[in-house]
């Protein structure tokens, strides 16, 4: 997020050791204040606070202290509850899925289960399912979520035949194709509109592309 908001690569590296990087003076003092407040909030010394006060107004100091306080809160909650990192950036998510599939367990159902788990660390969907084509039928490989997909077999099979992604306000069905051959579908459903958009569509289509050779390689013998 910091990178997206304009923090440069060098500055990001410099944040590992703030004294070794030439931050502008106001940024350096604010960062020293962050260190002091995080390490021992009761022992922030007067000299450091005077420097901070000479560079920032009272409202600005409240804002700076609030950022530092809020992230100490978030970090403690996230560390203690071992919160999964949000895979919000599509490129990071795709890299993680590609790494996973490169060393995936031989059982495609287990691999799909892990892929769905990664997808749900970055996206909030009611349900995600992956089904593979076996003969003329679609067989469930993996499914996470509270919103059932069992009633939509015909829809899934239609999507597989149509070769095109089917997208609505609360559903996304992406065919998985290995070359020209349909090998399965990824289906996402929500009871609430607003959680699936074109970026989700593009992301899930890329995931389908990664899964295709994996599903094709593990097809049951005809």
């Amino acid at each position: 997020m910091a990178k997206q908001l304009g923090v440069g690569e060098q500055a990001l590296k410099g944040l590992n050791d703030i004294e070794s990087f030439s931050f502008p003076p106001d940024e350096k003092i604010a960062l020293r204040f962050a260190d002091a407040m995080t390490r021992a909030a009761g022992q922030v010394d007067d000299a450091l606070f005077s420097e901070l006060r000479s560079l920032f107004s009272e409202p600005q100091i409240i804002e700076i202290a609030s950022v530092i306080g809020a992230f100490n809160y978030f970090n403690r909650v996230n560390n203690a509850l071992r919160m999964d990192i949000t895979l919000g950036d599509p490129e990071t998510l795709m890299m993680r899925i590609a790494e996973l599939l490169a060393m995936a367990p031989p059982d495609p159902a287990a691999a799909c289960d892990l892929v769905i788990d990664l997808l749900l660390q970055g996206r909030w969907y009611g349900s995600v399912g992956i089904r593979a084509k076996e003969g003329e039928r679609l067989v469930r490989l993996a499914h996470h979520g509270t919103e059932a997909s069992a009633a939509q077999d015909a829809e899934g099979e239609a999507a597989l035949r149509s070769r095109a992604t089917r997208m609505g306000a609360s559903e996304l069905i992406v065919p998985i194709r290995f070359g020209a051959e349909p090998v399965g579908i990824i289906e996402i459903r929500n009871n609430h509109p607003g959680l699936i958009d074109d970026k989700d569509r593009a992301l899930v289509e890329r995931i389908a592309g990664l899964l295709a050779p994996h599903l094709a390689a593990h097809r049951p013998p005809a």
Binding site: L15, A30, L31, I64, A70, N72, F74, M83, G126, G194
Partner: protein
Amino acid sequence: MGRLRRPSPDEVTPEVRDAFIKLKAERGNIPNMFRTIAHRPEIAATLLAHYRAVMGPGTVPIVLKEMLAVRVSRLNSCDY
């Protein structure tokens, strides 16, 4: 795996769901922290409001606030 389950869109209150849908439209995703805290809707709603007040436009450049957030998270060994 996180120690607590993340509630699904069906399991949260309509207010929290609407707030999260708005957050997705703004930033493309909904952080797992907010999704998990939605087990307690009042805390999720006020935390999100506080997050916006603290990290949104104010009197200090947003870039500096992001740098402070990254620095604090590194000091706390929080990869999140």
